[in-house]
């Protein structure tokens, strides 16, 4: 099956415009657009060139290596893979319940990860678009421009991320690619000095995180027309929620709602994820398209990540984030918010929640305990799910009697959002590009829609708006008619080919 604008009827008669790579996202992806001679959009596709070799080369390796090995999938949220793998492999060592110290240390690591990733995405990657405008001067539409025009906002962004990285360092051993979580528990707890080091700045972080929520909320209130409609489309939501229905980014059960907010399923044990999720393969993308089995391919696709989580949960356990969640729900009205730009608001509410959770955990003496490991009856299969910064992350392993991995299946957050991101760029292409001459500013609108999802395009390369971008306009025979290019130094040049 094919969605609207997914596949043009007569592609051979259309011009192809490519945004390759999409900038200010994690990793590499490209958008291709097919236009006719009146610049009417006939096909839009977001391609993500993910090489998923991990599922294969993890086979034959001992299971205790896996949490450290698979986190190399990513340099932005390795903690998410580290923890999802550890959770899955807890079942292999028979650890049905972790010790309080182990569970709290893992949660602390995870909230540090949410904080640093959300801060990086909002302040470094997206705030230039939101503060300056989508088609503003490209030379200043980056974090350096933000630092010049809004130095305090940039400073807070940098220091919030740094604090999150420090939480990770003290729980995992390193800021990136640590070893803190192991099957059955953790390998360290916090010393008193480490706890005090983090406590020193935590209240400042709470204050700044609250300020970040207010900043993005104000943007919605000031320009509701743009924020409510930009690339908007209706979709189902899915996320993990706590066993009490509250927001829980570390552990819980799966819940999904339809586009009107009605519950599709609830209380699903994620060990049974294969009973509810199916993945479709399309011949034009390396990334699969997951959908809810019960609804089929056409209607079963869904959205994950902050926008889903904030609207899927019944409440947030930390007081300041709960106040902000209620504001968000009230602003949305009767129907859920579907606008992609709402992701930013929801993401900042989660960042505030993560900082509040870090504060609470730092006041809990269990994080300095010495009982780190649990074990039990040996298992041979395990599923671990975590709400990573970008959405629901699923790790699934089978291990043989000799302790070697025989099967690995990973469904990462960005994969869940594949169809949703494609829908968003198609809406934006229709809204802004249809019938217009293509400019860099218009193409950035497409990128703004992709960025809202904070996709991690598999290799975690930082682009910061400086990645080279090339747009070619070809005639029906493939001859180049004109081109627009942006160099790594942000120099734009256009060229008309001699006819």
């Amino acid at each position: 099956m094919s969605f609207v604008l997914e596949t043009a009827t007569n592609p051979e008669n259309l011009r192809r415009v490519a945004i390759d790579p999409v900038s200010r996202v994690e990793g590499h992806g490209k958008v291709t657009i097919l236009l006719d001679d009146k610049n009417k959009v006939h096909q839009v596709r977001l391609h993500i060139v993910e090489f998923r070799g991990f599922e294969k080369f993890i086979q034959g390796r001992p299971y205790w290596e896996v949490p450290v090995m698979v986190q190399r999938l990513c340099g932005i949220c390795p903690v998410s893979h580290h923890l999802a793998a550890s959770k899955a492999l807890d079942a292999i060592v028979g650890a049905k319940h972790l010790t309080p110290t182990a569970e709290k240390m893992r949660r602390l690591m995870h909230y540090g990860q949410i904080l640093q990733s959300h801060a990086l995405h909002f302040f470094h990657l997206c705030s230039p678009d939101l503060l300056f405008g989508f088609d503003s001067d490209m030379a200043k539409r980056n974090i350096v421009g933000v630092a010049e025009k809004h130095p305090e906002i940039a400073r807070q962004g940098v220091l919030l991320r740094k604090f999150g990285q420090e939480v990770i360092r003290l729980t995992a051993g390193k800021r990136i690619h640590g070893t803190g979580a192991v099957p059955g528990g953790v390998n360290k707890s916090l010393s008193l000095a480490e706890r005090n080091e983090l406590l020193k700045d935590i209240y400042q972080m709470v204050s700044w995180s609250r300020g970040a929520v207010h900043l993005v909320k104000e943007m919605h209130h000031q320009n509701p027309e743009l924020y409510n409609s930009f690339g908007a489309f209706r979709a189902n939501f899915m996320s993990m929620v706590g066993f009490d229905g509250g927001l829980d980014l570390y552990h819980g059960q799966l819940r999904a709602r339809d586009e009107s907010g009605n519950i599709l399923f609830d209380g699903v044990d994620y060990q049974n994820y294969t009973q509810i999720i199916e993945e479709e393969v399309k011949n034009w993308s390396y990334m699969k398209f997951p959908y809810l089995k019960s609804m089929g391919k056409e209607k079963g696709w869904y959205r994950v990540g902050p926008l889903s989580r904030i609207q899927n949960c019944d409440f947030i356990s930390t007081p300041l984030a709960e106040i902000e969640r209620r504001d968000f729900i009230e602003y949305s009205g009767v129907m859920p918010m579907h606008a992609p730009l709402g992701y930013h608001w929801a993401r900042m509410i989660e960042m505030l929640h993560a900082v509040e959770m870090i504060k609470d955990l730092l006041h809990d003496s269990d994080i300095m305990g010495s009982d780190l490991m649990a074990s039990g009856e040996r298992g041979f299969e395990g599923v671990g799910v975590i709400e990573a910064p970008r959405g629901t992350l699923i790790h699934h392993y089978r291990v043989d009697e000799n302790d070697l991995v025989t099967m690995c299946n990973l469904i990462v957050s960005t994969t869940h959002n594949n169809q949703a991101m494609n829908e968003a760029v198609r809406r934006v292409a229709q809204q802004y590009l249809h019938g217009h001459e293509i400019t860099e500013g218009l193409l950035n609108h497409i990128e703004v829609a992709v960025r809202a999802f904070d996709p991690c395009l598999s290799c975690a390369t930082h682009a910061l708006g400086k990645m080279p971008l090339e747009v070619e306009v070809l005639d029906v025979t493939g001859q180049q008619l004109s081109s627009l290019s942006r160099s790594s130094e942000n120099v734009i040049s256009t060229k008309l080919s001699a006819l």
Binding site: G173, N187, K188, D403
Partner: protein, 248 residues
């Protein structure tokens, strides 16, 4: 500790100089043994003071009176001039290390011996910044047949310490080096070639001498946090022997 070349020493004691420092030695000691006793570090991999020298890895190469030799097998002579920490020798050592890295599959980022590995620590010591040579990427399946220990042949540097420990100390002859030249490889001496079919146990000396990550105790993994591993706080040159964590 070593004595400065200007420091007077016991006239009855035999000495040689190592990079300008006076090193005392006694009958039967090799250069590396005397240096180690004096607290001086000479990079090495196949040498372990508990075992007879093997002289195969050549990382401990020094110049003795102008001639290159393996310091683990060469005995010093009175007033011998030995040079170890020179640019030329360290460049050669680095090239040897690079060859060891590309001959096997050494994935430090996900290796549980990272931080406890003598090969990795020596590479850091000698400022090895890249493998330089093309990787061989050999296909070497693991032997996970034993209940308590796993063999990851990808990491073998052919130091033969496990073979020496098994035959010389354990009296079992579980491991051997087979093949010749570039085809030399570690084997398990059982009919099936599997560790499970030998009388190898965790109490064997051979279970605790591997300087890299070939002989791995199962289900331990990353139990030691970053910061507490053998070479986290001090480089290998400042870490007392025995440097292999868990050595008896």
């Amino acid at each position: 500790m070593s004595q400065n070349s200007n420091t007077p020493h016991n006239k009855n004691q035999t000495t040689f100089t190592l990079d300008g420092k006076t090193i005392p030695f006694s009958e039967g000691q090799t250069i590396i043994q005397a240096a180690m006793a004096a607290g001086e570090y000479i990079p090495h991999l196949c040498f372990n003071p508990e075992f007879k020298p093997h002289g195969s890895c050549k990382i401990c190469t020094v110049t003795a009176n102008g001639r290159q030799t393996a310091s683990c097998t060469q005995q010093p002579q009175v007033d011998m001039m030995v040079e170890s920490d020179t640019k030329q020798i360290n460049d050669e050592r680095r090239a040897l290390l690079q060859m060891l890295f590309v001959e096997g599959n050494h994935f430090c980022p996900s290796c549980e011996k990272s931080g406890d590995c003598q090969l990795q620590a020596t590479a850091y010591e000698l400022d090895m910044m890249s493998p330089h040579f093309d990787h061989f990427s050999p296909n070497r399946p693991l032997d996970a047949s034993h209940g308590e220990y796993l063999l990851d042949f990808n990491r073998c540097i052919l130091c033969s310490l496990c073979a020496r420990a098994s035959s010389d100390v354990d009296g079992k002859n579980v491991f051997s080096l087979a093949g010749r030249g570039i085809k030399t490889h570690l084997i398990v001496n059982s009919k099936s070639g599997k560790l499970a079919d030998t009388d190898f146990t965790g109490d064997d000396k051979a279970a605790h001498v591997c300087p890299v990550g070939v002989i791995i105790k199962k289900r331990v993994g990353f139990a030691v946090p970053i910061g507490k591993r053998s070479f986290d706080e001090h480089p290998i040159s400042a870490t007392p022997h025995p440097i292999v964590k868990g050595a008896i």
